[in-house]
């Protein structure tokens, strides 16, 4: 949507790469993963200069950033300008988590009447400045890499940082969660227990954490490349004898707004209205500045 202007953003070559963390509509859980890297934290600080990280330090900086981790979705009018501005000051922009990469759980409102929601929840909806749709960062600016998940996986975060220092592509496998289940010897919950599981259409990276604890994957890492969501939905309806809306609801989670999950939610229902707001409407906001 906007031009990516990396050249001006370079830090001096001799310095450690300058890293920042920026937050949009999110719960902060993903950026806390950076602080949770207990074993690697000292090494990270040795190799990267953390210049902007509100969860960790009160010292702030406006960049420029060699690496900027962006958490959260674009959900308020002010976000629209801010993300474009941050992109201008950033060399490698990395989105982290389901909100930033897919619009997050808050994107379920994209299928609902935004005004009615606000009126139902807030006594004074006129003070709530929000956009009618919650959208992923990549819908607004160019993104260089993304870490999926709710929250992101610490191992993948370390891999990304390591790839940055080594100069290679991060090895983030684009394959089904099933592959991780099978490598770890986890018994398939769908085959052995009849539980619906999105692992087949969901990108790996979590270490198959939900199936390991005996429940189906709910797709927080979002759809993998060429995910055959329609094939899975058909099977769950026909072989599993599940009603349409129930199958639609499986896709209506943290990454519901990513294709092809998005089409499944729209086609099968599973949200309150089952209808997605028309693409023309979104930028229009009903509260605050537009």
């Amino acid at each position: 949507m906007t031009a990516h202007v990396p050249a001006a953003a370079h830090a001096p070559a001799s310095a450690r790469p300058r890293v920042g963390v920026a937050k949009f509509a999110s719960c902060d859980g993903c950026q806390l993963t950076l602080l949770d890297l207990e074993d690697e934290l000292l090494s990270v600080v040795e190799h990267f200069e953390i210049i902007d990280f509100p969860e960790a330090t009160s010292a702030r900086s406006a960049g420029p950033y060699d690496v900027l981790f962006v958490e959260g979705s674009v959900s308020e009018p002010a976000h629209l300008e801010r993300i474009v501005e941050l992109r201008r000051r950033t060399r490698h922009l990395v989105t982290i988590g389901a909100c930033a990469t897919a619009g997050g759980i808050q994107a379920l409102r994209n299928w609902a009447d935004h005004d009615a929601f606000r009126a139902a929840v807030y006594a004074h909806p006129e003070f709530v400045h929000s956009l009618a749709r919650s959208t992923p960062i990549a819908e607004h600016v160019a993104v260089d890499a993304e870490l999926r998940g709710c929250p992101i996986d610490p191992g993948q975060l370390v891999e990304l940082l390591t790839a940055l220092t080594t100069g290679r592509r991060p090895q983030l496998r684009d394959e089904a969660v099933c592959m991780e289940c099978k490598r770890r010897g986890v018994v398939c919950v769908m085959v052995s227990k009849g539980m619906p599981c999105l692992g087949q259409v969901t990108q790996t990276g979590c270490g198959a954490i939900c199936p390991r604890f005996g429940r189906g994957c709910y797709g927080c890492f979002g759809p993998r490349e060429q995910a055959n969501a329609a094939g899975l939905a058909r099977h769950l309806q026909m072989a599993g004898d599940r009603p349409r809306e129930e199958v639609g609801r499986l896709f209506a989670g943290f990454t519901a707004y990513s294709e092809p999950f998005r089409s499944m939610v729209t086609e099968l229902g599973g949200t309150r209205t089952g209808r997605e707001a028309a693409p023309g409407e979104p930028a229009g906001t009903t509260g605050g500045k537009a």
């Binding site: 690697e40 090494s43 990270v44 040795e46 190799h47 370390v158 940082l161 390591t162 220092t165 080594t166 100069g167 290679r168 592509r169 090895q171 496998r173 684009d174 394959e175 089904a176 099933c178 592959m179 099978k182 490598r183 770890r184 010897g185 986890v186 018994v187 398939c188 769908m190 085959v191 052995s192 227990k193 009849g194 599981c197 692992g199 087949q200 259409v201 005996g214 993998r224 490349e225 060429q226 995910a227 055959n228 094939g231 899975l232 058909r234 099977h235 072989a239």
Partner: protein, 663 residues
Amino acid sequence: MVIRTAPARGHRPVLEGPGFLARADLQVLIDLLREDGRRVIGPTVSDGAIVYDEITSLDDLPRGIGDEQAPGRYRLRRRNDERLFGYVVGPTAFKKWTFPPLVPLTRAAKDGHRVTFSPEPIDVPPVAFLGARACDLAALGVQDTVFTGTAFVDPDYAARRAKVFLVAVQCTTAAATCFCTSMGTGPEVEEGYDLLLTELDGGFLVDADSAAGRAMLARLPVRPAAAAEQYGAAATVAAVRARIGDPVPAAGLHDRLLAQLDHPRWAQVAERCITCGNCTLACPTCFCTTLSQVTDLTGRDATMYRSWDSCFSPGFAKVAGGSFRSRPRDRYRQWLTHKFATWWDQFGSSGCVGCGRCITWCPVGIDVRDELNAIAPAVPLVPEAPIVEPVAATPNDFVTARVVATRQETADTTTLTLTGTDPAFAKGNTGQFAMVALPGFPPLPISISRFLPDGIELTIRGAGPATKAMCALQVGEQLGLRGPLGNNWPLDRAVGRDLVIVTGGIGLAPLRPVLHAIVADRRRFGDVKLYYGARTPADLLYRDELERWSARHGIEVSLTVDRAGPEWTGRVGIVTHLFDQAAWDGANMIAFVCGPERMMQATSTTLAGRGVPASRIHVTLERHMECGIGLCGHCQMGKYFVCRDGPVFSIGQLGDIFGREGI
């Protein structure tokens, strides 16, 4: 005792050498195996399934528990007896211990300009597999051939496999997903075990089929088995065979399948298939793997790991320009045709043992038997054998080489001159390649662009991070090499003939050694024509050599570019246009072609039109390669591993798979 069925199955079994072990005394076997220092891997209930895992006691076994299996469905059920093996096979295969999901291969370190590659030590404890069925034994046999039965041996597999003690069990029940009868692998266990158990109501018939097995049998508290016990056991196994029937008639399956590469069913099954890869990882014979690099933040130390991968993942056949099997139907076809057809060409057996795991553990219940029976007409194809034998290499082991010179060929392409290479490179041949690695980066196949008495040259185009890092190497720095790998251009067949070489861009690199060989012994060859194209004049490689070959060695060099500035006085356009109008006859000609697959196809068509026979048009293929020796599966193309059987093929050898989408 052995229950030997005569070769024609279903005959009355011949019995010999009885032995009976009481059920409780199976604990004695487990204890003895553990006393011998073995981990005992056997069936146990975990997470609603009977899996293979480490066991220490009889109580770990699934006493009185059976299973119900159907496409996409598995449930445990209580039996009305105390049997320990009253179920069929579960989700785990024994390959988990002989071919683990994740193995460290090589440790790499970088210290200034010095890099070192050291193979990880292979230190594995002895194991015993308890409860292996006929299909499990057949699967171990299939992987034995893949990993140890060709010119290249996987040292990790060989070390693990040598330490396995096999306690097999006869199947006394069958699942609805079983089809070992059709694949000729069961249900009867006939050979390849140390000990064999057949479960009866109160215990087991026991027999041995190896020295280790006989030694163990002598330590067990067995009594001679009664004749009634032996006949009862044989009748039970015969009933299992009858129950399974013959769900996939296998005669002629190889040819029938390969004749149906365009069947509409491939697209139909792809609508259902999620391409999740469960079938391949549940399969006891699938052997595909992928390498990954684990580096520390300093970038000084890196470990290369090998993990299970699947031909169903979209990235599996990816190269810099995209994936060779981009559509799900391509990947389903690849898997099915490999298992049931091209596996025969590569390894002399079917890749399927009929265990039914891929049917049960397919989350959407696709039944491979139905797919095979739906794709069936009988049009036999006769495969042609590869023409060049592969040479030996050093598996899993990188040898460092040092950069002694670098030459910038074009804006993005560099030639590295390397010495200190493995002595094997001195025996290398034109057209071969090396797997090239820097610590922390994935190893890449790079064609050898020159053979020197004490080294080689590699010409590398900096397309991605790894190749850019290689191009940036300075004199004195090191990298890791494995090779030389692959087959070679059949230069011996060019002696006394006219040779035409057609190539573009970086494609001249693997052909450069051919030209060196020709100029070294020019009189042995007839007319030699080199048709070479590049994007722009500045992208032409080896410009000084091109001039020398033309001026001094009587090689007819014709150049063309896609785009040119005013300084270019030569031809503009695609490379085949260079000889569209040429007046030569191809009858005595042999052709070597290197370029993108579409360009090679167009060139082959033009050459064939000139009378060059398909058996003398040779191309070199690009595929995703990681191991370089036919063990990781990435470069599979029909019945060939491009790394091991190629990369050089004749058009005649490739037949109708050449240039076909999604192969």
